[in-house]
């Protein structure tokens, strides 16, 4: 049984149905890539997995470590070990990165973390992600550049040590250096902590730095192709349009 099991997931927003039966299994230690063109439902899946109130699950289920979390509150999912790195991280004025991290860590624990232990963990994460120490005393995402926001996401991920992380287009808007730092950070968390990850991306370039074992292609609310890393190369050669043409009829048949 996989740690995260998504079964026949149908999701709609106020005006339309976006996901139309998604199945996906992700376990600790596995790196998955979810690729797809704009509007295919990638971000909807990411937000739904963490329980965003704007997305309504009309059918199907999400199970995490054997518990049905389909209707759990977002913070309960987080405490259970799920994490979402946002495509557009929200700024939280007035709260430093370090203070926010401490609150988030304490939310998962019975007793508050000791100052010394927290410092050690923070230092480790800072080195892992190659961020400046002063970074942690700035207000979270407030006035951060695009690259800084994404690093802050990965820093939080490193500190909170989830079992499965969903990275929603973490690569978008990053220059090559930031992209490399972020991707290598994910790879190291996978190697060191056994992180399971679902890397959602539109492009292939992040996958040059972090190697997925499983690749899924999402189109029009359904996963239309699955395979190994060779699928990324094929996508690079052929593009989404050609794949769409090939699977179009098959997708229809599958319904």
């Amino acid at each position: 049984m996989a740690d995260l099991e998504i079964r026949d997931l149908h999701v709609r927003t106020e005006d339309r149905e976006i996901l139309m039966g998604v199945d996906l299994d992700i376990s600790r230690g596995e790196i998955h890539a979810l690729m797809g063109p704009n509007g295919s439902g990638k971000s909807t899946l990411a937000n739904t997995l963490l329980g965003h109130p704007s997305y309504e699950i009309t059918e199907g289920s999400i199970t995490f470590k054997g518990e049905d979390i389909t209707s759990s509150e977002p913070h309960e999912r987080a405490k259970a070990g799920l994490f979402l790195a946002f495509q557009y991280p929200v700024s939280i004025p007035g709260v430093s990165v370090a203070n926010f991290l401490r609150m988030a860590i304490n939310a998962k624990r019975e007793d508050p973390i000791q100052v010394k232990e927290f410092r050690t963990q923070l230092q480790h994460a800072i080195e892992l992600l190659d961020v400046d120490r002063a970074f942690t005393s700035r207000h979270l995402n407030d006035g951060f550049s695009g690259g800084e926001k994404k690093r802050a996401e990965i820093l939080q991920m490193a500190m909170l040590a989830p079992d499965v992380a969903i990275l929603d287009e973490t690569d978008s808007g990053l220059d090559i250096d930031a992209l490399r730092t972020v991707a290598e950070g994910v790879q190291r968390l996978h190697d060191e902590q056994g992180l399971g990850a679902l890397i959602i991306t539109h492009y292939q370039r992040i996958l040059h730095y972090v190697k997925p074992q499983f690749v899924h292609i999402l189109m029009d609310g359904r996963i239309v192709l699955e395979g190994g890393v060779e699928l990324v190369e094929r996508l690079e050669r052929e593009g989404y349009d050609q794949i769409r043409q090939e699977v179009g009829s098959a997708g229809e048949l599958a319904v």
Partner: protein, 474 residues
């Protein structure tokens, strides 16, 4: 309350305008600066008390109105049911010992109702000429230091409660910091009301002589005696009518903070505070208005001489059915001068908060640079919060501008924090605390910062249901 009968209408006091007709529903806006000489102006305390008493006798309770926005009326106040009780000297009310942080302090004066019940002053400061005592004692023991400043800029005849204060104040606080004396720890001035039925006429005078540097922390606190019952029994009210003036002479620097929380009882607070900044002097002033049944504050910070500079901060948090009316004035009487006004407020429950911020630049106050910003946050569907900035400029070589935001809780920020494991109330708390934090951190005084953070957190916890209701209503 007893007061002498009869008497003619108040004579003009100094250059202050005379109210020709006192009335419960005067439409004329009272939202203007004190703006000019006060009632003092060479008159003795006895003369001032007498003039004020005449105004008190002949005027009615005031109404402040901003047409289309708000009305602050004292019609609910049963003044006749209130009195200044005798209190035991030396007995500090529980609310004071519970609230004030344990910390080093330069001195402390505590007034309960109309009586000073505690006075402490660091003997080393006393030896250097620092004076902290009741204002009554100061008039007796240090008339030469008090008389030139007393009511120098405060008036006594704008309305009945201002007159009541000027006529009937007892106790009071006087702080004098001599030239060149620098004091790190704060002087604490505390006004406490420990039960219903109390009228408190609070009078504070602070003078910072040339190049002095010091901190003043004022606390306005009431025992939580509970709101009036709605069964027709007599109201359980209390009144704080305050008058505060602080003058900084050449080159003096003061950090003034005020922490007001009148608790859950029906406490009415109608106060006027004036801070005058002298040549090259500087004041950082931060009132934290955290509760009161009906609170009306006229807060005026004036640069009176060249080179004066000010940072005028403020925060407020209203809950339940509280009514808050703040008028903050950033007054520049001469230039060059600098000003920076920054307020933040939040409202929950069915509370009502009104803020008017006025930048006023007098003729001749050239090369003044000032900015006023007010940010507000709505936390409940039934609360109402209005913020009006206004600018009155009578000089041409100045920069004066204002800005502000009106916000609600950001649901995307709440979801973001939830995905990090914080539950919804914790996420809301982070947002609201973060909203106030830029101002609280500016106090650069850890014990007071912690106290204000704790008060905000307490109020947020109490408002949990309202905040939830607001989220689902949107």
């Amino acid at each position: 309350m007893s007061a002498p009968a009869g008497g003619a209408p108040a004579a003009p006091a100094g250059s202050a305008p005379v109210q020709e007709k006192a009335g419960r529903h005067r439409e004329a806006s009272l939202y203007h600066a004190l703006n000019g000489a006060g009632a003092g102006n060479g008159r003795s305390l006895a003369q001032l008390r007498e003039a004020a008493l005449r105004t008190f006798e002949t005027s009615e309770l005031p109404v402040w109105r901003r047409s289309g926005f708000w009305t602050t009326s004292l019609s609910e106040l049963d003044l006749d049911s209130l009195s200044v009780p005798d209190v035991e000297a030396g007995k500090v009310p529980g609310v004071v010992t519970r609230t004030l942080p344990e910390r080093p302090r330069a001195g402390r004066i505590v007034q309960n109702a109309g009586t000073v019940v505690d006075l402490q002053l660091d003997p080393q400061l006393s030896a250097r000429g620092v004076i902290l005592c009741s204002l009554e004692d100061a008039f007796r023991d240090h008339p030469a230091l008090v008389e030139p400043w007393y009511s120098k800029r405060l008036t006594l005849d704008r309305h009945k409660l201002e007159a009541a204060n000027a006529a009937m104040w007892t106790g009071g606080a006087f702080l004098f910091v001599p030239a060149g004396v620098v004091v790190e720890d704060p002087f604490e001035i505390v006004y406490a009301i420990d039960g219903p039925g109390v009228a408190q006429y609070a009078r504070t005078l602070v003078v910072g002589d040339e190049r002095s540097e010091f901190r003043v922390h004022e606390y306005d606190l009431a025992e939580d005696f509970g709101a009036s019952a709605e069964d027709g029994s007599p109201p359980q009210q209390a009144l704080h009518a305050g008058a505060f003036e602080l003058y900084l002479r050449d080159g003096a620097r003061c950090r003034l903070a005020q922490m007001q929380d009148w608790g859950g009882g029906d406490v009415f607070d109608v106060s006027t505070r004036f801070v005058g900044v002298g040549r090259d002097a500087h004041c950082h002033w931060l009132p934290a208005l955290l509760g009161g049944h009906l609170v009306r504050q006229h807060l005026e910070l004036a640069v009176m001489e060249k080179g004066g500079d000010m940072a005028f901060r403020g925060l407020f948090f209203t809950e339940q059915n509280e009514h808050l009316d703040v008028f903050a004035v950033d007054l520049h009487e001469t230039g060059p001068s600098g000003g920076d006004v920054h307020w933040r407020g939040a409202a929950t429950g069915e509370s009502r908060a009104s803020f008017e911020g006025l930048i006023q630049i007098e003729p001749g106050a050239q090369q003044t640079h000032t900015y006023l910003q007010i940010h507000s946050m709505m936390l409940s569907p039934k609360a109402r919060l209005d913020a009006i900035p206004s600018v009155l400029v009578s000089a041409d070589d100045v920069s004066a501008s204002h800005g502000g935001t009106v916000g609600e809780l950001d649901e995307s920020a709440i979801f973001y924090m939830q995905t990090r494991g914080l539950d919804r109330p914790a996420a809301v708390r982070v947002i609201v605390e973060g909203f106030f934090e830029p101002l609280i951190a500016e106090l650069s005084d850890e014990p007071l910062e912690e106290l204000i953070r704790a008060k905000v957190a307490e109020k947020l916890a109490a408002a949990g249901e309202d905040i939830e209701a607001y989220a689902t209503s949107r």
